[in-house]
């Protein structure tokens, strides 16, 4: 295998990233019939997956591949673009391309018959390209560009059904929220650049890189080339984290993600599982050494708060996709906690396991929605086909969807033998260890995470019980010829494949110990960053205690949900309760944002609009009127005086000419007469004047 040099492997990575772009370009540039591109898109993404898998095998736990070419130079600073393949990026590469391929296959049936299907494939290609590019690039600026591209293509996909007003609103919201975050990211990039003078991720963040060499001494942040006050390091970390909050839907920029459900379910699945929201966590992981202790605490607190908040909201939602959306926000909160408490490897591990089970949950929900929409179409009765209150008892008619979704839900709740158990317990254990030597409110974080995971178990069991157990709420609509049945084959097999990856054996040989997972082993940081001050000590008692406690409590919660939603005819009604309404209204975030920033900005822009219209336009218009007046005067002068002069001279010449041409008879004798007369006149005058 010596023929495969580093350069060749980087080239392969570039090809893997660019293949989906081909899909996009092909569909956009080459005209053809509508709905084309499915097989081309699937072909490209499968090729990407193959290449990614190959790269994964070559790079995982072996070597870091870093290849650069000069990109552009400003002054004496040369910017280099290149590929950085280490354990983290090849893992993400594999994850993104695998999930994308499954979603592509699923979409062939889910999106079947959509009149703009070719656009769907094109946008999906662009989306995958941006995400794959984001994971392999080695330059923060390029990373930022792909980051923007991810935001833009998600905007296209969320607003895919652009005739729906809610969808366009949601896409705008997602885009604007993400732009806010981009501001933070850009600020972080600028601070790092002014400190280190390079944007090369490998040079900055690799073991012994520039960030490791920089030290904090006497309130100053010193690197080899530059010195700045210590607080800039904190600001840089917070700025990067702010960027990540937007992409990964953390408080306070989380509100776009639930709204993004307006897009097709397959897209939601892709956004939630592997691409968009993962980008934020990936960013944190990529630049992990730059965070100091303050920032890490902020990250953990925001993560814990978001996780808790989103989980409480998910308790009371009735839209099947919205529950899952808030579940994603909550799980991303877990990843943030992990990042914040220094559990870098478990954070990424949870990202990977979450990608699979959340993708599965969404795709299974998509299958349910698909069938419900069919039912709605056939019976021509208007009902909300995403409302879980309209479902029930679907496990009999859709056994495979039920079975796979059940596995995913167990993984989400962190029940043993699933992948979720491993990663979630890893995070919990690490956060308890982290909080052990902290004081004050930081102690709350692991307990918040613990409580959140109980809430998670409850809301997901509520979803499962309401959708798949009990009686079908709309059974009156069902007739002999209208049956809710299993999803089509393409969707079904995708669910099955994903279900396999929700089980522990894909990630670890030991179902109870996350430390035996190959992902955690591959990502563990060997030496700690001097800035963060995190030490990886472990006390093994919590390793046993926490999983046991959490699982007993989870089981209890699940049983409670079962008792409420399946056993008893009527679930207890909390709708009068203030907390219930608080949760159902999603903590009034949308209302507050609407009343606060959004309204003030719209009012401000309305004011500037009026100002613009009345004053600026008025001024410009009156200037214009003065101009018109002046020019009409000049027009008059030009017309009658200047033109009159010129025309007068011309007409004078014409008159003289007309007079003179009468002499030109062409007859010889007339000329002679004239000549004789002239000579005679000359003589007469001469004589006459001489006489005087």
């Amino acid at each position: 295998m010596d023929t495969l040099t580093q350069g060749n492997l980087s080239l392969l990575a570039v090809i893997a990233a660019i293949l989906p772009l081909f899909t996009f370009l092909w569909i956009v540039l080459v005209p053809g019939k509508e709905g084309r591109g499915a097989s081309f898109a699937i072909f490209n993404i499968s090729l990407s997956l193959l290449i990614s898998a190959f790269l994964f095998i070559k790079v995982w736990n072996t070597e870091t591949i870093h290849e650069q070419i000069p990109w552009f130079s400003i002054g004496s600073t040369v910017f280099k673009a290149g590929i950085l393949l280490n354990n983290l990026s090849v893992l993400m590469l594999l994850l993104v391309s695998a999930i994308s391929l499954l979603v592509h296959i699923y979409s062939t049936r889910y999106m079947q018959g959509d009149p703009y299907l070719h656009r769907y494939w094109a946008y999906l290609g662009l989306f995958c390209f941006s995400m794959l590019g984001l994971v392999i690039t080695d330059n923060l600026l390029l990373l930022y560009m792909f980051w923007e591209l991810v935001g833009f293509s998600s905007y296209l996909l969320i607003g895919f059904w652009f005739t729906k007003d809610t969808a366009t609103q949601a896409s705008k919201k997602a885009f604007i929220m993400n732009r806010l975050g981009d501001l933070g990211f850009l600020t972080g990039i600028m601070i790092l650049f002014s400190q280190f003078g390079t944007l090369d991720i490998h040079a900055l963040f690799a073991q012994g890189g520039l960030v490791f060499e920089s030290i904090i001494e006497g309130g100053l942040w010193k690197s080899s080339g530059n010195v700045m006050p210590e607080y800039w390091l904190t600001i840089a970390g917070l700025a990067f984290f702010f960027g990540a909050t937007a992409k990964s839907a953390q408080f306070p920029l989380h509100t776009w993600l639930p709204d993004a459900m307006e897009g097709p379910t397959s897209v939601s699945s892709l956004i939630h599982a592997a691409t968009m929201v993962a980008a934020g966590v990936f960013l944190l992981a990529r630049i992990y050494p730059v965070f100091d202790a303050t920032v890490l605490t902020v990250i953990a607190s925001v993560g814990a708060f978001t996780a808790f908040m989103a989980a409480t909201i998910a308790l009371t939602q009735n839209d099947i996709k919205r529950i899952l959306a808030f579940s994603t926000v909550s799980q991303l909160g877990f990843m943030m906690i992990a990042m914040g408490v220094g559990a870098y490897a478990p954070g990424i591990f949870h990202l990977v396991t979450h990608a699979f089970f959340k993708c599965l949950l969404f795709l299974a929900a998509g299958a349910v929605i698909h069938e419900m929409a069919h039912l709605k179409e056939k019976t021509a009765v208007d009902f909300d086909h995403q409302d879980i209150q309209n479902m029930g008892g679907l496990r009999k008619s859709m056994p495979l969807t039920f079975f796979t979704m059940l596995i995913a839900s167990l993984a989400l709740s962190g029940i043993p033998f699933t992948s979720g158990f491993l990663s979630k317990d890893a995070i919990l254990i690490q956060s308890f260890e982290w909080a052990h030597d902290k004081s004050g409110l930081a102690k709350l974080i692991p307990y918040a995470a613990l409580f959140t995971s109980l809430l998670t178990a409850f809301y997901i069991s509520r979803l499962i019980f309401k959708v798949f157990f009990g009686e079908f709420k709309l059974s009156s609509l069902l007739k002999a010829e209208f049956k809710v049945h299993e999803a089509p084959a393409a969707m079904k097999y995708v669910l099955l494949v994903l279900a396999v990856f929700c089980l522990f054996f894909a990630f670890s040989s030991n179902p109870f110990n996350y430390e035996s997972s190959w992902i955690v082993k591959g990502l563990v940081i060997t030496s700690d960053s001097p800035l963060s001050g995190i030490a990886t000590a472990s006390s093994h008692i919590s390793h046993v205690l926490i999983p046991v406690v959490i699982n007993i409590l989870s089981l209890f919660v699940i049983v409670l949900a079962y008792a409420w939603y399946v056993r008893s005819k009527q679930a207890p009604d909390f709708s009068k309760n203030f907390l219930f309404r608080f949760s159902q209204k999603q903590w009034y975030f949308n209302e507050v944002y609407q009343k606060g920033p959004v309204n003030s900005i719209t009012n401000a822009s309305r004011f500037t609009y009026i100002f613009d219209k009345a004053i600026i336009d008025g001024f410009v218009n009156s200037l214009g009127k003065v101009g018109i007046l002046l020019s009409s005067i000049i027009h008059w002068i030009d017309r009658y005086i200047v033109d009159g002069l010129v025309n007068g001279i011309a007409s004078m010449a014409k008159t003289i000419g007309n007079f003179a041409r009468h002499f030109q008879t062409g007859r010889l004798q007339h000329y002679m007469i004239t000549m004789v007369l002239v000579v005679l006149t000359f003589f007469i005058i001469k004589i006459f004047f001489q006489a005087i």
Binding site: Q664, R667, Q669, M672
Partner: protein
């Protein structure tokens, strides 16, 4: 002795007849004849004034010279008239008005 003024009178009359012929005739030949008249009026003046010449017979010699010249010009002019006739099929000067704009 015939006084000089008589010669002058005849000469002036000859010139006027010639001028009239030149201006009024509808035939190029007759116009040519009119020109000869005027030329001869001038020659007559030469001869008449020669009496007062300081140099003996200078005016007479000049007259002979002018007669010879007149013969030459007539030859040329006749050739022109012939060519004009060939081209226009007429020698009526009132019909030949191509000089007009």
């Amino acid at each position: 002795m015939i006084p000089l003024s008589h010669f002058m009178m005849i000469s002036a009359a000859l010139f006027c007849i010639g001028l009239f012929a030149v201006l009024s005739k509808k035939n190029a030949i007759l116009i040519l004849i009119g020109i000869e008249f005027m030329l001869n009026a001038a020659i007559l003046n030469f001869v008449a004034f020669s009496k007062h010449d300081k140099l003996a017979s200078g005016g007479q010699v000049f007259a002979v010279f002018a007669i010879v010249l007149a013969a030459a010009t007539v030859a040329v002019t006749l050739a022109i008239v012939l060519n004009v006739y060939k081209y226009y099929k007429t020698i009526d000067p009132t019909k030949i008005d191509q000089l007009r704009d």
